[in-house]
């Protein structure tokens, strides 16, 4: 009896020690064999080639852990809110836009316990209180090479200067305002983005409004790509993934990289998920070198593990944003300003979008 008790205690201690070890030192990309057997996780993202790439990146995690992975989407914060409020959260890991995890941190998204994730390979300044990046990309100024020939636009200041650079502009009108673009617009109006106040949002939006009635506000990434391929717009604010595809398809456009706007998708764990640790395990596996390489190869988005070296052809690598040169040219929006002022900015931006 005694012996048996001792034996049990021993096993228990060993188990506890393993658990403690596993918790104290997670390694990005690794998961214990069979650790999630019989469990189900639902990953929510934006569908299409992107979510297919994410599923491919997580295949090893699924095979090894024994988890059943379900895919759902697209991500809608309103739906997530309904789940959290009703106490029935079926989304275990949610890929969101840049801002929501900051705006709804602690309300809809859990504050992350960084002892359960290996964030050591994530580019600096990208881990939030409630999120880690899901991938990186950029918003880049693309211009029509045939229209501007020897005198191409070089910066957002040129983008907003219709006198020096006549032509039709295309802007992301898919919904929310892009903080970085408004900051660049505010700079054009003579302000300092670092010292921006709520009243300055109007000034920034006025700069956009002054581009005139010909300005195109594209609603979807596909539309922006189509605008480039058909040559409908002379200068376009574009997501790098779409810019790459447009150029690959023969659009005669080139990027002006100065002050390209750094954007990312975020990985989050909603408040009230059934198995928080399983969600952590998924994200930790996702952050791994190999997963990120697969993701980049399948989607051409920039991996967020600094050791990842995806095998991609030149047309893709031209639009990856993690080279030292690109990192130096990138412009990061002022998160501290936009998070508390998100609603105000959205309100004003929507009015612009509605023709006011």
């Amino acid at each position: 009896m005694r012996l048996k008790l001792g034996h049990t205690a021993c096993v228990a201690m060993l188990l506890a020690a393993t658990a403690a070890f596993a918790q104290s030192k997670p390694v990005a990309g690794e998961v214990a064999e069979g650790s999630l057997k019989g469990k189900t996780l639902t990953l929510v993202s934006y569908g299409g080639i992107y979510q297919d790439g994410q599923a491919a990146a997580l295949k090893e995690f699924v095979d090894k852990s024994g988890v059943k992975l379900l895919n759902d989407g697209p991500t809608e914060i309103a739906k997530l809110q309904a789940q959290v409020e009703s106490g029935n959260v079926t989304w275990d890991v949610v890929d969101t836009d840049d801002l929501p995890p900051y705006v709804y941190c602690g309300k809809l998204f859990q504050k992350l316990d960084l002892t359960k994730l290996d964030v050591s390979k994530i580019p600096e300044g990208q881990v939030g209180e409630c999120s880690v990046p899901a991938m990186n990309y950029g918003v880049v100024l693309m211009y029509n090479k045939e229209k501007y020939k020897d005198n191409p636009p070089k910066s957002w200041a040129d983008f907003f200067d219709t006198q020096k650079f006549p032509g039709v502009r295309g802007i992301d009108g898919s919904g929310s305002p892009t903080g970085g673009l408004l900051e660049q617009a505010f700079k054009v109006s003579g302000g300092d983005p670092k010292a921006m106040t709520v009243a300055d949002i109007d000034k920034a939006i006025d700069v956009v409004r002054k581009l005139g009635p010909d300005t195109i506000f594209w609603k979807t990434g596909a539309e922006s790509q189509q605008l480039a391929e058909s040559g409908e717009a002379d200068m376009l604010m574009m997501w790098t993934g779409r810019a790459m595809t447009a150029v690959k398809n023969g659009a005669k456009y080139a990027p002006a990289w100065q002050d390209w706007l750094v954007v990312m998708d975020q990985m989050t764990i909603p408040v009230g998920v059934k198995d928080t640790d399983a969600s952590y395990a998924l994200i930790n596996a996702y952050l791994g070198k190999q997963s990120q390489e697969i993701l980049a190869e399948k989607t051409s988005y920039t991996p967020i593990n600094s050791e990842a070296q995806p095998k991609v052809d030149a047309s893709v690598s031209a639009f990856l944003t993690n080279s030292p040169e690109r990192q130096a040219q990138g412009y990061k929006q002022n998160f501290k300003f936009w998070v508390p002022n998100f609603a105000v900015a959205q309100e004003k931006w929507s009015a612009l979008m509605a023709g006011n």
């Binding site: 009108g173 506000f217 609603a343 979008m353 023709g355």
Partner: protein, 289 residues
Amino acid sequence: MSALEPTTPSVPKRAGWAWRPFALTLPALLLLVAVIGYPLFTIVLRSLSEPQWGAQNYVWFFGTPVNLTVLQRTFVISAWVTLVCVVCAYPYAYLMTAVGPRVRLALVLCVLIPFWVSGVVRTLSWVILLQDSGVINSVLRSVGLDGVRLIRTQTGVVIGMAQVLLPFMILPLYSVMRGIDLRLMRAAQSLGARPFRAFFTVYLPLSLPGVYAGAIIVFILALGFYITPALLGGPRSTMLSTLVQTQVLSLLQWGRGGAMGVVLLVTTFVLLALAAPVMRSRHREAGRR
């Protein structure tokens, strides 16, 4: 009729006979209550209770100029779409009644096949046709004319929406026109009416119920359009649904979104109530003639 009278009183005597038809509609009623009634109630409730009880969301709606502009624009665009649909559908539906069964089948298929294609696909096809470098403009330019700006204008939105909604106008019109005895036209002409006169005093009034039915369906469906104005329109053709979407999906302001929905619904009811007497009187007039 009077000969049958003695037998009829025995019918209501049977217990439960009177409400039996209602019992048959019970599944439909339950479904309506569950999928229309309850959500609608929630929308009204949330528009009055979020973030706290009161009329704040309505005060906000009517105090924000952009909302009123867009509300008005939503009705104007829907009215244009309805008008375009009537003008296009009327001769088409008439043709369907006038031709033989084979051609009619072909005409019906022409209406229905696009109806089975997803609205998004059809709208994207319109993008290809309407854009500045699109089919319409290249044809115009190749014959030496100036191109016209169609995409990102209200005209473009009206064209796209009218095409999507056309079946909702043609089908009710056709079903009414099919019941009109074409010999009445001949009778009118034999009494000395010119074809035009015969049409306007005989055929048109008889077909009006179809026009009204179709117009109401098209107008109401148009009010809630989202995809087509979003893809074919620019800022100056944004409709109310887009603003609702912004409030709910990106700002999580369910109360404001709800208030916008309620305003749209109530305004629609008011407009239909105003139009109802006109429709009814014409109806009666047509009946009398």
